[in-house]
Amino acid sequence: MSMDERSVVAEVRRVTLRELRLWVREGWVQPAQGERGPAFDEVDVARIRLLCDLRKEMALPADALPVVLTLIDRLHETRRDLRDLTKALEEQPEEVRRSVVAGFRERRRGSYRTDGGA
């Protein structure tokens, strides 16, 4: 799926063309470049809806948006990394997996003890 600016505005009725262009200029939405201007795919459209929710429903001020977006993006990045790491780990021999899991649990217990301040 690929949509130009006008189809996006028609699809996501909460966003105006002006806002959309601003969001792209700010780098909050990063459409692919097409021969006739920006080309948005479903990831971009879902992100535009998220921006509408943050900006309009939750009335988040424009200057707070980059902070929130970066946190959200970082969260997703970390989750994906964790998922990939887990998958890579699953392909390891049984004893390697066990040893990694044991080490991980050990660290976690350790950090609870520290945080808990016993």
Partner: protein, 311 residues
């Protein structure tokens, strides 16, 4: 009854909150079931009006209805895909903020290397903070159906102003992404350049459609060609070929042109499937009518026999 809540309340889409409230009160007074104990129609109308007001009287719900996110019954529309559903997949990577390598500086070398996005493909000696890989650049390229099935070369100007040559492989499908290594943004320091990611949009063709590596098309033939059989010219994606229409071919019959579909780089080729369609002239001539009349007199052909038996 319409299920558009605006129509039910009889207000324009631009109505203010007060106008909606007023319209609702007026209708509620006129339709209230306690005022019309035995009128089922009025009761149903009253319920519809109440439901419409439940939606439009709530500014939050009204906004979401206007935006097409919930339907008239207040249900979430199924189309809404939340961002996290995409961000969890690899397509979401484009919005990664990119983790500074310093976040892992107390970790073992191999681990910082593992997550060191900035040092992905470079050779040996780099300090990650100063030598980083360039960004990937995304481009969307619309190609004609024939270019997509036959393969083509296109030159495009990337967002950074650089022109690059793109080889579209034969059989590329709609939505496919081509990765051109090193054709993205320049690296920083001694970091390598990023990649160009080109998603392909395939435009439709008035004659050909595609089913995997096979090409489908409909071929109009005349009545005499269908009755007597004929050799006809058929367009394919690689030029016109001659094909035999067998004697007595019906509309809908499928003929296969072997190897005339998409030819992959491996040499593997799909077929072209031709669907016959018998077409009569726009204006019927007397001779054809005479022929049909004579044929009808002695023919006992019943093409709808099966149909009758099965229904």
């Amino acid at each position: 009854m319409s299920d558009d809540p605006y129509e039910i309340l009889g207000v324009p889409k631009t109505a203010s909150h007060d106008e909606i409230k007023k319209a609702y009160r007026k209708l509620a007074k006129a339709l209230h079931p306690d005022l019309h104990p035995d009128d089922a129609g009025k009761k149903a109308e009253f319920q519809a009006v109440s439901a419409a007001y439940g939606l439009l009287g709530d500014p939050e719900k009204r906004k979401r209805f206007d935006a097409g996110e919930i339907d008239a019954s207040g249900q979430e529309r199924p189309e809404r895909h939340y961002y996290h559903q995409y961000a969890g997949q690899d397509a979401g990577r484009r919005y990664d903020p990119g983790m500074g390598a310093q976040e892992y500086e107390d970790a073992a070398d191999f681990f910082s290397d593992l997550f060191g996005r900035r040092s992905r493909s470079g050779g040996g000696d780099y300090r990650e903070a100063f030598h980083t890989r360039g960004p990937d650049l995304r481009y969307h390229l619309e190609v004609d159906f024939l270019d997509a099935v036959r393969g083509a070369k296109r030159s495009v100007t990337m967002p950074n102003g650089k022109a690059i040559e793109i080889s579209i492989p034969a059989g590329v499908h709609d939505g496919q992404t081509l990765r051109l290594r090193g054709k993205g943004g320049a690296g920083f320091g001694e970091g390598p350049p990023g990649d160009a990611l080109v998603t392909i949009g395939v435009l439709s063709h008035p004659v050909f459609t595609r089913d995997g590596d096979d090409i489908e098309m409909e071929l109009p033939i005349t009545l005499d060609e269908a009755v007597l059989g004929a050799k006809v010219d058929v367009p394919t994606i690689s030029g016109t070929v001659s094909m035999s229409v067998p004697k007595g071919a019906s509309s809908g019959r499928r003929l296969r042109l072997k190897g005339k579909g998409i030819v992959r780089a491996s040499g593997k080729a799909g077929d072209q499937n031709v669907r016959l369609k018998i077409v009569l002239p726009d204006r019927m001539d007397g001779e054809l009518e005479e022929l049909a009349k004579r044929w009808r007199e002695h023919s006992d052909f019943e093409p709808r026999k099966e149909l009758r038996r099965q229904t």
